[in-house]
Structures are given as structure tokens and as C-alpha cells.
Assembly symmetry: C2
Homo-oligomer: 642 residues x 2
Amino acid sequence: MNPHTKGLAASRFVPVDHASVRFPRGFWKHWHDTVRDVTVPTQYMRLEEEKFLEVLDFKSPPGPLARPIQPSGLSMQHFFDSDFGKWIEAASYMLKYQRNADIEAKIDDIVDRLEEGQMPDGYLNSWFIRREPEKRWTNLRDLHEMYSMGHLLEGAVAYYEATGKRKFLDIMSKCVDHIIDTFGTEEGKLRGYDAHEEIEIALIKLYKITGDPRHLRQASFFVDERGQMPSYYDDEARRRGEEPDDYIFETYAYSQAHKPVREQTEVEGHAVRATYLFSAMADLAFETGDDSLRAALETLFGHLTSKLLYVTGGIGSSKDNEGFTREYDLPNETAYAETCASIALGFWTHRMAQTVLDARYTDILELVAFNGALSGIGLDGHSYFYENPLESHGQHRRWQWHYCPCCPTNIARFIASIGSYHYTAKENALAVHLYSDNSVTLALGGTEVAVTQSTDYPWDTDVSFAIDPATPADFDLSLRIPGWCKGARLSVNGEDIDLSAVTERGYATISRTWSAGDTVTLHLPMPVERLYAHPDATENAGRVALKRGPVVYCVEQADVGVPPQHLILSADDTFEAEFRPDLLGGATVLTGPALKMNASEWQGALYQGSKPTTEPVTVTAIPYHLWANRDAGGMLVWMMER
Amino acid sequence: MNPHTKGLAASRFVPVDHASVRFPRGFWKHWHDTVRDVTVPTQYMRLEEEKFLEVLDFKSPPGPLARPIQPSGLSMQHFFDSDFGKWIEAASYMLKYQRNADIEAKIDDIVDRLEEGQMPDGYLNSWFIRREPEKRWTNLRDLHEMYSMGHLLEGAVAYYEATGKRKFLDIMSKCVDHIIDTFGTEEGKLRGYDAHEEIEIALIKLYKITGDPRHLRQASFFVDERGQMPSYYDDEARRRGEEPDDYIFETYAYSQAHKPVREQTEVEGHAVRATYLFSAMADLAFETGDDSLRAALETLFGHLTSKLLYVTGGIGSSKDNEGFTREYDLPNETAYAETCASIALGFWTHRMAQTVLDARYTDILELVAFNGALSGIGLDGHSYFYENPLESHGQHRRWQWHYCPCCPTNIARFIASIGSYHYTAKENALAVHLYSDNSVTLALGGTEVAVTQSTDYPWDTDVSFAIDPATPADFDLSLRIPGWCKGARLSVNGEDIDLSAVTERGYATISRTWSAGDTVTLHLPMPVERLYAHPDATENAGRVALKRGPVVYCVEQADVGVPPQHLILSADDTFEAEFRPDLLGGATVLTGPALKMNASEWQGALYQGSKPTTEPVTVTAIPYHLWANRDAGGMLVWMMER
């Protein structure tokens, strides 16, 4: 915990230091170890192979463009800084667990090169410095200038927190000073804000270290200025000699800049941008107590979860705008559902639960953590999905790297810091949001407390907590009772607790004096659930999704031998859950009966006058997040049901 | 009939002159009259309003671009010539029925301006002459240079045939001479061919007028050269200083230029390009007797109809390439199914049936004529669809004009010439492909014969033919027995014919001496059919399409009050057909029971654990081609079925 948040922690829930949470066994051990041992090192290799780091050769003239310029005027190379910034952040989260000279040398080298390239006034963006210095700050609408700076800043904060080394932080603080000098309401400053939100989150992270009100104020400025009319982007376009109406994405809703943020009631536009903005708004609401921001977020959260959310936690249906379309438009095979967007939905919902402890938010955090975000990385730790469709005919394969590699480093930093998503704490209370086998040590009720979760969750229904304070201590322990769970049971030292009496907004709170050896047991029944979509979500009409506990399932051709689109479940049949230690690293699968349509009788016809005949088969469904780790083949979440 | 085909007509089936077929009542009367009275005049207005004709202001410097340049290097304005070329063609088909001084003055003016702009060497393309004369013939891969010329040439042929005026034909013949001088296998000529097929069809139409073997040979050259390796497009790109691998559509299969046409076994790429090519190949097979072309087309036809064809006759699933994707990939809501592509499928299949009279081909012609092509024009005759999806949530509305207006003029020329698709004839035989109320007069068996179809087909099951030769004459009358029809009955002068004895390849042939007053009656039972898709066409799994006779049906929200995606049919229920004179200009609708899912019980949730409850409703289905002529709302062809 940093000096600044230490002070605040007395009165309000803040996330625990991720590195105080360890995963010696259980669900996250594989993912956490793999990110440290495979993902972080291989991503550095990719950054080198794919020439990302060449953008830091400030002494050499820029080489040929690594990526072509898009019709928007943007090339991926415009924001290469963000990719190594995010890699540094992920690597740093692991360094906080264990220092690593080799990784640090690589980061230190990047930092040295950034220092070398930084302009005397603090400006730091490799694209503009090397290629288009005259275009600095001329196109916030299209070119991700502060988005890149924001990711460098997040990396700098994480590296400082992991190692205590200040150099990168100082470089980025100087860049922030330049940003503050450039943008603001004061005479002579620009009233602009980056169309791809990110700098706001980063500034608040900086503020949590520095306590410098200028850093918080700058984040507030960017959020408050967003969407004010007349639009900064119109003025800016005219200054470039362009017609504002020629904007390629047509509406500033693409960047949530079509109206002031407090007036936005519907989630629109680019999904990652939206959720980065909402995360920053939640941070600001927390830091400043601004209820108007919270109220707006509450409306937006309701809109998203009731109209726009895939059952997997994916968001953003369309590749055209990488974002939201009309309500209930949730196509499965063409779902964009970008990994980054699900992760950012985790960022946002986790932040929402800091101000108001409410399981509505953290249920979504859990949903993305076990499904739509985690599906973005392969079991091997070095293959990825950018898009996370809910149906495939085998055309979707995990990539070693991306044309736009924002997702690989995002999932790396999310898993590397997954500990901090498990718990928030204040002086005399601990809230548990995520369940998994792990242990955390933290200060609570005036003493040091070790809390250990022993469980095979999400495969198993039971979570045992060992609460070990150094000395007996009074504090509240709040446990999330998942919204998906009916019939949860809770006991302390073997004594049942009446959940209805202690549960508020989905959290059961036990207030007592805790002593070493106390145990809490939480039982969360996980029958196989059948989920049906609202009739307006027409892609899923006549279809059913299988879910058990927090885990959404899919059927893969690898298990059933035919395209899962040929299968029909019966609403009356039961699926059984079974843990298979040898399958995909160990997972609980669901098995049950189905009917398989016969394709052979069609004899080359495309249409015929009689229904396909069927024959009985047994179907195995696997956790959605584990799909596409075997041979290419069909995959389906929403199964036909009769 | 023109001099050249008159000679050939003795031995082989050729289409009758479209203007010999009249539609005094019945199905086509509305469409035919509307195209003449509304579509042709309003399209000229659009060409003026939208500045299409300004490209012919050869004396003025070119104004600002009416359309931006695409990433491919193409702007729509590159091929504006094709749009008024096709408009002239449609208008001319109507002029052949009845001359019209006003329309002719407009065409003559365009022709005068084309003459003014034509280069001394015959070259004629308004884009290149006015804007980029130095780029003539440098990029056949991307810029539609001969595509535009082809449509002007088709317009010129039609205008000549309608009016006898030679000027436009002479201009375009001079342009063709220039093409022949430029492209060919001879030393010093380029071995290129346009990536958007069209000039081939036009050259064969010219050949049918001129009988000049050079015109046929040039079409053959373009077809034979297509896809030869090393690719002309590679060489041409290098000559432009570009890397061939940077081709934006990635594969020359986009233009059917990835391998020689006779080696192509799968239908790939841009759907209109493909079907224009196949139409030209069918023409060449007919004109030259080249069986290798026919064999290739037969394979391609089998591939298309068994793997790639929408039940409506739409083709080309994806907007990304305006064309074909993987086999069985037939998404409904995002179906591209361009109007032009269905029309061109009509062109192709009609041509296939010239060489081999086989109802497999003309069944598809009928399918597009009553469904996927006709859906491209609104009942008002001046609103259009470019894409013809099989599902909508109300977002699809007919347009007054298109950004790329290829479809409006295409459907106009198709309907204007629909008479010629009804019949092919040779000296002593008449083949009837399409049924509708109409009359045709032609030479058969050495005398003039009037054939009158009296019928309310496709609404009614019975077609009566009055055969009236000027003097008794021997000839064959071949009637298509549609592939969709079970239990057809045929009688001549009240005497039943044993269909199995006289039917070959789907055509029942009556050979006799015909006298005035002879009547033939064809009964084609049209129970309401339920069609099911091959299980690999997974978008339609668990779904049913309703069809009656040649007409595919859809359900519109306008008739059922709720999104049709909320409805579930039962496999056991029966739908009744009923003609409604007051509905959408008069049409047979289908009515039957269904269940409606209740959306109200969801109370804002997106997913819930229980199936939606249902309540019974009565469903009305309308002909697909009539959809989107009322208020915006949902539409669905493939209905859920339990």
C-alpha cells in the first residue's frame, strides 16, 4: 500500500496490494505462474521481434512504418508506447512478488531510451517526437497521443511500486507536468481530452502515490470537459483544415464525447474507451465523493447489464466500431467482445464496489474473470484472442501476437494483479469479492491478519477461510454471496449464520472478535444452470446457455465430434458436473444427452422439405474460457434446445 | 431479333425479343408499368441530382470528387459511366415497347456528350479522360475501367435495338476497336482483363448485332486470359511501383482471377463479378460450342446451389468482399445478397438453359425473379435495396438512391426485359421458362404464332395457354415443370398428358401440329411448403422457411405486431394461403398459428433461468419480395420451429 492510500484506507474500502495475495494452489496458480514464467518473457520477445521497441531508437531516423495508416489517420504504431507501457505494468506486478534482474534490465533499458527521447518540456510520445513533431497536440480525436502516455504512466507507477526505482516515475511525472501545462480551463490552455480514454485512470494512479491534488484535478478536468459543446474535436478539426463532419466514425459517441459524461444514460461507442472512462469516473467518484458521477455510472451500469452484456461478460458486439450497437444486438459468431473490453469491465465494476459494496458490481467482475476476459489467453500463456465470439465454425484460432496487440498485455496485467481484485479492505473490515485458493496478509483491526481461502472454487462449491490475526481483533468480514447462487450457507467455527440477517447488497458481513484458528465456511451450491436470453436478444431465441457457478460453458467439436451447431438439447434433460483432472489443465465439465441432426441424408441438397432426423448422443461441455486450446473446430455457447 | 441471331435461331434456343412479350394484366403488369412510368424517369432525376451526369462536362475542369477514394484506390465516381449506361439500357428496353421523345432526348444528349469526350483513338471513360488521362490502362485490377465501358456498350446496343439510332453504337464500336487494339495475345498488346467482369457480356451482345468475329474473339480472349499465371495484375502492380502482395482484397479469387476459369471448381469472391463472368462464359459456350466452358459452369452451378445459395435466391453472404465466404455460411441479418448478384444469377441461369434446356437452371431464374432480385425494388418503383437480408430488426429501410447505385438500374433493366426471360425459341420449338399472365408473338414452325398465358401465377396454381398460329404449324412446346412442384398436371385441349412420358430435364414437351384455338392447361399444385436447411447452414438450425410455389415468404412485424423473432411455429400446424387483393398491391399471404414469447416477464433482466412463457397468436406471412414497403419493423424468413 502506498503512503497516500494508507491514509485513506482507514475509512473506505480500497483494493489490497495485489502482491499480498498468493496463489500456492488452486484455480489461479496455473494462470499466475504462467503469466510470470511464459507470458511476460514471451511478450518481451514479441515486442522485439515485431519492432515495437525500435520506436525508441530516437537517435536513428524513423524506419519504414511497421503498420499502414488507417483511414482514420491512425496507424497501430502511433500507440506502440502503450504496448510496452502495459507490458512494463504486467511485468512490474510480477516483480513485486519477486524481483528479477533480467526483466528489470530490460525495463531499465526502455526507461533509459524514453529518457533520451523525452523533449525538454516533458513531452513524451515516441511517434510524434520522431515522426511528426509539428503535429503534437493537433489531433486528440484520432491519434491516441495521451492514451499512449497514460499506459506509460501506469507502467511507471507499477514499476516504482514494485522496485522503488524512481527514474521512470520521474520521467512520466515530468510528462504529466507538461500535460497539466497544456490542458486545462485556464487562459492559454487547450480544453482538449484524448478520444481514447486512459490518461485519466493513469493520473489517478499517480495521484494515489503522490497525493498531489494537481494530478487528481487533471483527471477531473479531462472527465468534466469530455463531451462539452461546442466540441473540442470540431474546433481541432477546423484548425487542421478539415471538415468536422468528415469524421470517419461519424459520431463522437464513438469516444463517449457526444455529450457531457454526467448526461450520458446509454452505453455507446467503442467498448474499451467506454469502460476506461467509466473506470476513471468511478475512481473520481471515490476520490472526490462526487455523487453526480456515481449516479451517471449507476444508470450506465444498468443499461449495460440489461441490454448489452454477453452471457460470458463480453461487451461490444461489432467490429465496425469495436463497440456497442443497438440494444439486445448480441450476435454470437461475429461477437467482437474484445478481451480488453471485458478486462476493463472488470476494472470498472471493481472500482464501483469500492464506494458502495454491492455484489451487483462484483458479480460482473467475477463473470469476466472466469469467462470473457480469461478466454483472451490460451492455456500455454503465449497465445491470445482479441475477439471472443460465442460461436465458431473453427475459423477462430488463438494468435501468437496481434496486429493490434493491446489485449495480450492487458490480460497479462489483469492476471498478474488478480490478487487485488479478490479483496478490498479498510481499517476494520475486509470484503471478499472473488473466491479461489489463495492467502492474503494485511493489517485489520489494528493487527496483522492472515486470511487463507482453501477451495477448488470455481470447480468446487465450498470455500473455507482460515482467519489468523496476530492478536485477537475486531473487524468485519464481508463475503460476496453471488447473485447466481441460490441456497448459500455460511458458518463460523462450525456454527451456521442466518444469511438473510447479515446480508446487504449481496454481501454477508460477520462482525466479531477474530482469534487465531477461526474458520469460516461458505457453501455456494452450483447446480448446472440453464440460462435463457431475453426474447429481444434474438440471436439466442430457442437456445440455452449452460452455466455452473460463475463458469459459463460451451460445447466444442473436439469433445463431440460434430459441429456443436448440429446438436439439440432437451429442456427436460439433466447435465452432470464432473471434475476431469487431465482435461485442459483440470476442469469441471458438464455431460448430458442431446440429439444430433443427421447431415448425411441431405445428399448434397441445401434445402429440403423435411426436418433433419436426429440420433441421441452424449454431449460434453467445457468452460468457455478454455475453448480453442485444442484442434480447430466448431464451438457454441448458446445451444439449440427443444 | 437482330440479323445475326436470326440466323442462329434456326437450330438453337435463343431468348425471344423482350418487347414481343406484353403484360396486359397479372403479376408483372404492376412492376413493368411502374418501371416504365416511375423508375426510369425518377432514376434520371437521381442521376442529375446526384451529379452523375456532371462527369460528362468534358469542357469544364473536373469538380470536387462526388465520392471519396476508397482504400482500394477506387471511388464510386470511377464508374459513374456504368450507372447511366445501365439506365440507358433499362430505358431502351421500354422504348422498344413504345418510343418516347422526352426520354430519347435525354439519352441523345448523353450520347452527344460522350461523343464530345471520346478520345481520337476511341478510348471512352469519363473518369480517366477528365481526371487521370495518364493512368489509362494502368490498373485493371482496381478501377473498373472496362466495366464502365461494358455498361455503356450494353446501353448502346439496347438503344440501337430500340430506336435504330446508330450514333451511340458507333461511338462504342469505336471504343471496342480501341479495346481490341490494346488487349490481346498479339505482340505489343496487353494481356490484361478487367477485374470486374462486364465487358465480356457486352462484347457478346455487340457480336450478336454485328456478327463480327473480332467481337466474339475479344470476349473469348478476356475469359481465356483470366487467371493465367503469372498474373497480369502482379505485373501491372509492379509497373505502378506497388507490391502485388499489398492487394487490398488479398486474393485474386475476389475477381475470379486466381486460376484459369476452366480450372475453377468453387464459386468464390465478389458475387456480381462471379455471376457476370459465368454469364459471359455461358454465352461463349453457346456461341462457340466450347464444352470445356460448359463443364466448368456445371461444376460451379452445382457448388453454388448446394453450398452458397440463400433460400430467396440471394447470393454473397458478406459485405466484406461483397461476396462468398465459406460453404454453408448463410447469415440472415447480415446477408449481403446484393440485388445485382441475384439479377446476375438470373442472367447466368437463363443463359445456361439456352444450350441445355434444363429446369435446374430456370428454377433458379424463377427463384430470383420472384424473390431475391425483385426484393431489390419497392412497390413504389423508386425505392431500393442494395442488400437483401433475410432478417431485420427494422434497421433496413429502402433507399431512394444508393451511395453505389448499381442495383437500382440493374433491377430496372431486369424488369424492363423480363419478357425475354419468359421464353426461348428456335425455328420449330418454344420453351416456356417463366409463368405469368402475358402474351408473346413470334415466328414458329414457319408461321406467326401468338401464345397467351392466362393466369394469376404465382398466386394461382393454373396456367392456361392459348396457342394461335396464323396457319396450322408443327412445333414443340416445352413447359418447365418446376422442381418445387409435386403432382403437376398438363392437358392439351382438355386431354391429359402423361407428364412422365414427355418430361426431360424438367421440361414437358408437346410435339404436335398446332391450330388456332388450341389450349394447353398446366396445373402446378402449391401447397404451403416448409423448407429446412442443411444442418451445416447453422444459422437456420431449428428454423423453417415457408414457401408456396415459387414464392418465399417472410413474417413482418407490421402484420404480427411483435418482432417476428419472438414467434415459434409448431411443425404440426398448417398454414393457409389466401389472396388479399388490398394488401401490398394484391398478394397471396399465408396464415397460421404460432406461439409468441412473452418479453414482459423479464423485467429488465437480460438472462434468466427459465424459458420464456408463450401465448398463442395468428401469424400472417407475406411474400419476401414485398417486405419493407410499410412501417419499419422486424422481418424474418427463417422462423423458429418446435
